[in-house]
């Protein structure tokens, strides 16, 4: 699927700005971003539920701009599931097939009994519905009404209604956001499995970076109607193109502290020189993005330079590891990710003075506008030194 120059505005408010996106066949692509970034609108334009003001949507090398939603060969799973409350689970899943294969007359009460081919078609539909239901393990629920199901079961029914058509493209609009936390994590795995099994193309919208990171082949991170960065989860995590991307991806969130380039290929935070490669002229203000795992505790007696002095504000126990919230001399907060063993060995209490060692090569350098300082400028520094 291909998007070319998609633009959309409501009144004078621009929602999408000349947006291009190529989705590869069979890929799981996630549109992620804060609420109001235009990701849902984009999905609805792909589905045909909204009409773009500019640009074109192509599915399988063919423009679908003039096609109705039902003729685009796409299926959608809604945040609310949008199941037909008056129909049983089985009929809900069967609806797209009935609409496709039966004429209007064959669907009307009374009139439908006149059709000689209807029983045969309905048998076929029932078999396909049963097969899909078995795949989703909801085959024992086919007679129930949606109102009698739990959130997770409704979710599966909505998936079944999408799957039964065997569409070229699955569109999912925050399908997990109405589930409780535990079920959400579980369904994340199921959706990824389902994608692998079906081999179909998925376009998935979420505001949850964890969902995006765990399921996607590629992520398109959106903000203010534009795609900030498109890449694999590893790309976005390890090489964020901007401070906004770095801050959106990852939990606990990346630390951002102000620093100055020292002109000698490194940076300084206050009086402390950090081993972060940076070739910008001395005194250039920069912002450092430091992942919590790029921070570690240094023993006080090591006597090495380039350590940031801080005070432990709070320690959060995540079971296998700890997140230490430290306050730097300047008042900035810096979170460090520590293994349980390292935390216990350090025997810290809130208020303890600590020294933090920064893993320089893994620090992301941004200019004050939040743009990534190009790798050439960084490696150039390494070469000059």
């Amino acid at each position: 699927m291909r998007l070319r120059g998609i633009g959309k505005a409501y009144g004078s408010t621009g929602v999408l700005h000349a947006l291009d996106l190529d989705v590869r066949a069979g890929e799981f692509l996630t549109l992620v971003g804060p609420s109001g970034c235009g990701k849902s609108t984009l999905l609805r334009i792909i589905a045909g539920l909204e009409v773009q003001d500019a640009g074109s949507v192509e599915i399988g090398d063919r423009s679908v701009d003039d096609l109705l939603p039902g003729d685009r060969d796409v299926a959608m799973v809604f945040q609310s599931y949008a199941l037909y409350p008056h129909l049983s689970v089985g009929r809900n899943i069967a609806t797209p097939l009935e609409m496709q294969r039966l004429t209007l007359a064959e669907r009307l009460p009374l009139l439908r009994s006149l059709s000689p081919r209807r029983p045969r078609i309905m048998r076929g539909i029932r078999a396909e519905v049963a097969a899909v239901a078995a795949q989703l393990r909801i085959d024992h629920l086919l007679e129930r009404k949606p109102g009698q199901l739990s959130g997770g079961q409704r979710q599966r029914v909505a998936l079944g209604r999408a799957m039964v058509r065997q569409p070229r493209l699955f569109l999912m609009d925050e399908p997990l956001s109405n589930l409780d936390a535990k079920l959400r994590v579980h369904m994340r795995g199921e959706l990824a499995d389902l994608h692998a099994r079906l081999g179909a193309t998925f376009v998935y919208v979420t505001h949850d970076q964890a969902e995006a990171m765990t399921m996607s082949d590629r992520i398109a991170l959106m903000d203010s109607g534009r795609i900030l960065q498109l890449g694999t989860p590893a790309d976005l995590y390890d090489r964020p193109g901007s401070l906004a991307v770095a801050q959106f991806i990852g939990g606990p969130p990346i630390n951002v502290i102000d620093a100055l380039a020292d002109g000698g290929g490194g940076v300084s935070v206050g009086p402390v020189a950090l081993p972060v490669p940076c070739s910008l002229p001395a005194g250039t203000p920069i912002r450092l993005g430091i992942r919590p795992e790029a921070v570690e505790l240094a023993g006080a007696t090591d006597g090495e330079s380039g350590l940031l002095p801080a005070r432990l504000h709070r320690a959060e126990n995540l079971g296998a590891e700890w997140i230490l919230q430290c306050v730097l001399a300047g008042g900035d907060l810096l979170a460090a990710r520590l293994s349980g063993a390292a935390y216990n060995a350090a025997a810290l209490r809130p208020g303890s003075a600590v020294l933090l060692r920064i893993d320089g090569p893994h620090v992301h350098v941004f200019d004050v506008q939040g743009r990534r300082v190009p790798a050439s400028a960084v490696s150039l520094a390494a070469g000059a030194a």
Binding site: G48, P69, G70, M76, A82, H86, T95, M99, K145
Partner: protein
């Protein structure tokens, strides 16, 4: 009262006194409503039922039980039987037109963006007006010589038609007025029902290839309006069954008894001829019809309209 019971005794038998106290308090709270229901609904109904087995006449000193005589006379009475037929005919016209017509108008008006509230007010106006007062306007409208309807029918080549004085057409004219009176109310109810249908469902239907007007209606609108339709059908049929004021003001049951309805005949017997016992029997029959209708509709429709 429980405060004076020693702590040990209280803990031993706590369950019983407390639940008894709750039962007493509950009864006390329910009592005013129960008395009210008894006084204004149950007792009058029972008095009515008893009267229907007597020959009581208003102002008479005594009365005597006549068993089922009133009911026997009722079903032998040609006037009553004709009024039954007329009433059913009237309901048979007013009910479908006012329900499906209101649904149709509601869907049309719902789609209007700017003029929506204008149409809502226009269609709702007849509901707010007094039917007796408006009936005089209808009398003028339908007057063969003075009214615009008469002039129109002449212009259209149907000749001079006197709707209210034509035995074949008078009931139809009253039914038209009945529809006019109730359709706005039904429309507002349907619009309320339409406004709570989630937009998601229409979008899901569009993706399921049920995006055309007919499919949208059959897949989403009609089933989702189930509860509204049930309510509208029951209230409209009860209103239609009780047609009275237009009969009194416009036709007085004529011409040739063609617009005599159940309630009008009942009114004549009870308040013009003072045959209270006979009128009570008639009321019981009317009541039986209304109850049967409500129960039937509730059972028939209820099974299909509730989803949760």
């Amino acid at each position: 009262m429980s405060a004076v019971v020693p702590a040990a005794a209280r803990s031993a038998g706590r369950r019983a006194p407390q639940s008894r106290l709750e039962a007493v308090a509950g009864t006390a709270f329910a009592l005013p409503a129960a008395i009210l229901i008894l006084a204004v609904l149950i007792v009058p109904l029972m008095v009515l039922a008893v009267l229907s087995f007597t020959d009581y006449r208003l102002g008479a000193v005594g009365m005597k039980a006549v068993g089922l005589d009133n009911y026997a006379a009722l079903f032998a009475d040609g006037v009553f039987r004709r009024s039954l037929t007329n009433t059913f005919l009237y309901v048979a016209i007013v009910l479908p037109v006012s329900v499906f017509g209101a649904l149709f108008i509601a869907i049309l008006v719902q789609a209007r963006a700017r003029t929506r509230s204008f149409y809502e007010v226009v269609y709702f106006l007849p509901v707010t007006s007094t039917l007796v007062a408006m009936a005089t306007v209808w009398q003028f409208m339908l007057h063969p010589a003075l009214g615009p309807v008469g002039t129109l029918s002449v212009d259209l080549g149907f000749g001079r038609v006197d709707l209210l004085n034509d035995p074949d057409l008078a009931l139809l004219a009253l039914a038209a007025i009945g529809v006019w009176q109730v359709i706005g109310f039904n429309m507002v109810l349907f619009m309320a029902g339409l406004s709570v249908i989630p937009r998601d469902l229409y979008e899901a239907a569009a993706l399921d290839r049920a995006g055309g007007a007919v499919d949208r209606f059959l897949t989403v609108t009609w089933p989702m309006l189930g509860p509204t339709t049930m309510f509208v059908t029951i209230t409209s049929s009860i209103t239609a069954f009780k047609v009275f004021d237009t009969v009194v003001v416009l036709t007085r049951g004529g011409p040739l008894g063609s617009t005599e309805t159940l309630l009008y005949v009942l009114y004549l017997e009870g308040f013009q001829y003072f045959r209270i016992g006979y009128a009570a029997a008639m009321t019981m029959v009317l009541l039986a019809f209304l109850v049967a209708l409500s129960v039937l509709q509730a059972f028939a429709l209820d099974r299909k309209v509730h989803y949760q």
